[in-house]
Amino acid sequence: MTTTKKQLHRIDLIFKNEQDCKEILRNALARSNQEVINEMVNSGLKGRGGAGFPTGLKWKLTAEQKVDEKFVICNADEGEPGTFKDREILTRVPHKVLSGMAVCAKIIGARKGYIYLRGEYKFLVPNLKKELRRFHDILDELGLDFRVEIFMGSGAYICGEESALFESMEGKRGEPRNKPPFPTEIGYLNKPTVINNVETLAHSYTILKYGAKKFRELGVKDSRGSKVFSVSGDTPIPGIYELELGMSVQDFVDDFGDGDTKAVQVGGASGFLVPRKRFGKTSIGYQGKLTGISLPTGGSMMIFNSSRSMYNVLNNYLDFFEEESCGQCTPCRVGCQQLLKGIKAVKRGEKPASYLDKLLKLTDTMKLTAKCGLGQSVANSFSSIVENFREEMIY
């Protein structure tokens, strides 16, 4: 590593051990709903699960629904390969997540909240339950009629998609619904529902404590605040890092790479692969339109060094999606099978290299026509890997 490079701005907000949860809650609950919504909107916070929908707007739209029963759901179905930050947040600062849920509940008028926890994280339950008891006592003290329960998933990646998650909670197969209607109108049990990622809720605590202004000072236009990154792969220092949004992949690699980084997969298996030649031109954040210049992520940063075969990487991703697609819509269910079988056929020489171009056209269809957001993104890794490492697919 050189000494002249720009250091990444490490942030210590989310995991800061703060025991003032009751105070923060008391203050937040004392403010008017409008004030808190404005604070959230002004902070520029966007959903940290990966899709990047403005959180304040989500709360506002749900608050506007004139329905008696509403829900707040914390999406802890962290299934995207390469992502493990939500587990860490729920382990270390669960009270921040719960506080975010409680404030949201008060604003939208919900009395019931759920944490949808992936089955793989069942070992977190005893601690979370202890934390819940403590938190419910605080709510009783503050006079807020709100209770949170844990709902366990059972091993299905797609349930991280919000409408699939509702279906799963309703005791059904986790198949995404048609949208519209959106959860803000029709969510869990067909009631207006705010569903936020674990980290999003934890950030809302930070915003409530320090104010929107301070949060906004971090990050860049369209991508405000900090973000918790899950760093894995060929790095000497894998783990969880809170960093300022808007960093370039080059700066990230300088800090986290092993000196031989060939590519970084941003956003997990459903995200994009950035090859070395584009490290400097790519930043991390949420832009209105996907330009490839700024990539969104739920926080997964997987680093590959030059010893890795990008064919094997893609094969692994496609294997994952072929199994984890819910299977209901044609482009995702059959598309994934075709991409997987297709790269194998090209590798074995059963199909010509030009077959990759046919598959690239197919990925366009998958992105355009799949029923849900995840279905629309399963082909991202294929197109970004094949476009950048075509020779590795063939030989």
Binding site: N178, P180, Q337, Q338
Partner: protein
């Protein structure tokens, strides 16, 4: 009035009610958007994605079947992007699909095949996935075959079985590439709660669900010089068959059908309508007997309401789901099975043919009838009462195979003895028909007067509503029936098993009391049966229904008890309703079955 929403499709302005979808708006403009998982009878799934269209300002395509219209929306249904995507989706479906179209039962009647033709899918770019799939074919049921290699996972069958029929014999199982339509633990359809109603077949776009065909067996029987092949045709066949042979829905082809059956080589061309009238005599008498036991003898064991037993789908449904109500089922066999039992006894004797040499074939709008004919109880003639059951669709196949130009045929009449039916029998083919027929006869038996409805048309029992109720006050009774004087006879009629489920729950909970209920397993009754032509929706069902009622009103005899052949069979053979002989041949018992 609901709000109207303005949008343009392919640059043409259209205004539709709020809440309508793009697909519905396009229909209004006569712009066809291809669909597969969409069906008017069912809730929207939006999973096949073949109906995608381009919405200006949206960087994804949207599924027109699932996307509600919004003000100012600009939709394009025929851009390059849309066409390429659709073509891809059809190609993808074909890679998972067993493409042996020429060997497929639904060759020529397959929505996927039509789309592939429309989009000229002439080359196979993508890899054939079928060899790596362990697809199973279930041919165990005597009524329905399920071939997973033809399935496109549109889930129309699953939604049909759950939403229309409330049976849930099949569901979506597994996920990803393994996702499939399955029974519980992939058991054979014959081993689960399936009622054999065949609504899944009618709603399936491909050859994944089909009836078990007995066409070859019937050809064999016809070709055998030793056998006398008797054929009966159900009331709903005569108003459905034309549809399968190029006529508009709701065209009555009774005379042409009879003529075609003779040309096919059937030895006796007879009518299930005859035994429909007989059913009214037996079932009507059974009802009056039950009422007498209840009202006069205060018999606590008499089961009311009495439920009709003509629909074998309904019979199997109640055996599975409400076995505690089996005593409420009329003990009358269905008209098909009454016919079968009589064909090899009464009729055989009359025409002096050894019943051993009679092959009894029935043409039904129904797939459950195939199962019914195979029930072990159905051998009261000493032989299998009905040997082979063909659907309306299978009859059309035979007619085409025989090279008969159906539309050119002259009208002919059924053979005698078991070939005459009244208007009351014809309306068995529509929901409410059995009730109406029974009331026409029962009321007259009890009071000596015609049922008090204009032109015998008991309108409250007609139509497609889920649950229809009618109550008739019985007044001016004859001496034998004084116990019914002033009684308000309460009846309910329902069609489709989801509605039957609602009705039975109302009865079970004590929310409703009835004396007599008519239940038909299929939407619209037999006219919408699982053996009728596809595609079907409520527009088609209503047209068929109109045809049934027209057939009734055109007949001179419109009450079962006035059918001269009925009068004759009681005189010559059965003696009277519920006689010892009719008990032996025309009545049956039921079996309690597992709930799942």
């Amino acid at each position: 009035m609901s709000n109207m929403v303005n949008l343009t499709i392919n640059g043409i302005a259209v205004s539709v009610e709020e809440g309508k979808t793009i697909l519905e708006a396009a229909e209004k403009l006569h712009i066809k958007i291809p669909t597969l998982c969409y069906h008017k009878d069912l809730c929207v799934a939006g999973n096949c994605r073949v109906c995608v269209v381009e919405q200006v300002g949206n960087n994804k395509l949207v599924a027109s079947c699932a996307m509600p219209v919004s003000e100012g929306m600009e939709i394009n249904t025929n851009t390059l992007k849309v066409r390429n995507c659709r073509k891809h989706i059809i190609e993808l479906l074909l890679t998972e699909h067993n493409e042996e179209c020429t060997k497929c039962y639904r060759n020529g009647h397959c929505e996927l095949q039509e789309l592939a033709a429309e989009y000229q899918i002439t080359n196979q770019d993508f890899i054939d996935l079928v060899p790596d799939k362990s697809y199973t074919v279930d041919r165990i049921s005597p009524a329905i075959e399920k071939d997973d290699s033809k399935c496109i996972r549109c889930q129309r069958c699953v939604r049909t079985c759950a939403e229309i029929q409330s049976v849930g014999a099949i569901a979506v199982a597994h996920k990803g590439s393994e996702m499939k339509i399955s029974t519980v633990f992939d058991r054979a359809l014959d081993e689960v709660v399936c009622t054999n109603c065949g609504q899944c077949i009618v709603h399936c776009p491909t050859g994944a669900l089909t009836e078990k065909s007995y066409v070859e067996k019937v050809w064999d029987a016809i070709a055998d010089p030793e056998t006398h092949v008797v054929v009966q045709t159900a009331p709903a066949v005569r108003i459905g068959l034309g549809e399968e042979l190029g006529f508009d829905p709701g065209t009555r082809v009774t005379g042409k059908m009879v003529s075609a059956l003779r040309r096919l080589g059937f030895d006796s061309v007879l009518d299930t309508d005859f035994t429909a009238d007989l059913t009214i005599m037996e079932e009507g008498t059974e009802l009056l007997t039950r009422l007498k036991r209840a009202l006069v003898e205060d018999d606590p064991d008499v089961a009311l309401p009495m439920a009709t037993s003509c629909s074998p789908g309904w019979v199997k449904y109640i055996e599975h789901k409400y076995p505690e109500y089996l005593p409420n089922l009329s003990t009358c066999k269905s008209p098909q099975q009454m016919f079968g039992a009589l064909a090899k006894t009464y009729y055989a004797k009359k025409i002096k043919v050894d019943p051993q040499n009679i092959v009894s074939v029935s043409i039904m709008p129904c797939t459950a009838k195939k199962y019914e004919a195979n029930r072990p109880e159905m051998k009261d003639s000493g032989y299998k009462d009905v040997d082979f059951v063909l659907t309306t669709r299978e009859l059309a196949v035979m007619i085409r195979q025989a090279g008969i130009e159906f539309e050119k045929l002259n009208d002919e009449s059924f053979d005698s003895m078991m070939g005459t039916g009244s208007g009351a029998a014809v309306i068995f083919g529509a929901t409410g028909g059995v009730m109406e027929a029974a009331l026409r006869t029962a009321y007259e038996i009890v009071t000596g007067r015609e049922v008090p409805f204009e032109n015998l048309e008991i309108l409250p029992v007609r139509g497609l509503n889920g649950v229809k109720e009618v109550s008739i006050k019985i007044e001016g009774t004859l001496d034998d029936w004084k116990f019914l004087e002033g009684v308000e006879l309460k009846c309910a009629i329902t069609n489709g098993l989801e509605n039957a489920h609602q009705l039975m729950d109302n009865i079970k909970n004590g929310d409703r009391f009835y004396h007599f209920i008519e239940i038909m397993a299929c939407p619209g009754g037999c006219l919408g049966g699982g053996g009728q032509p596809y595609p079907v929706d409520n527009d088609v069902r209503l047209k068929r229904m109109q045809a049934i009622y027209n057939e009734d009103s055109d007949l001179a005899i419109r009450k079962s008890h006035e059918n001269p052949e009925i009068v004759q069979i009681y005189k010559d053979f059965l003696e009277e309703p519920l006689s010892h002989k009719s008990h032996k041949l025309l009545h049956t018992t039921y079996v309690k079955r597992e709930q799942y």
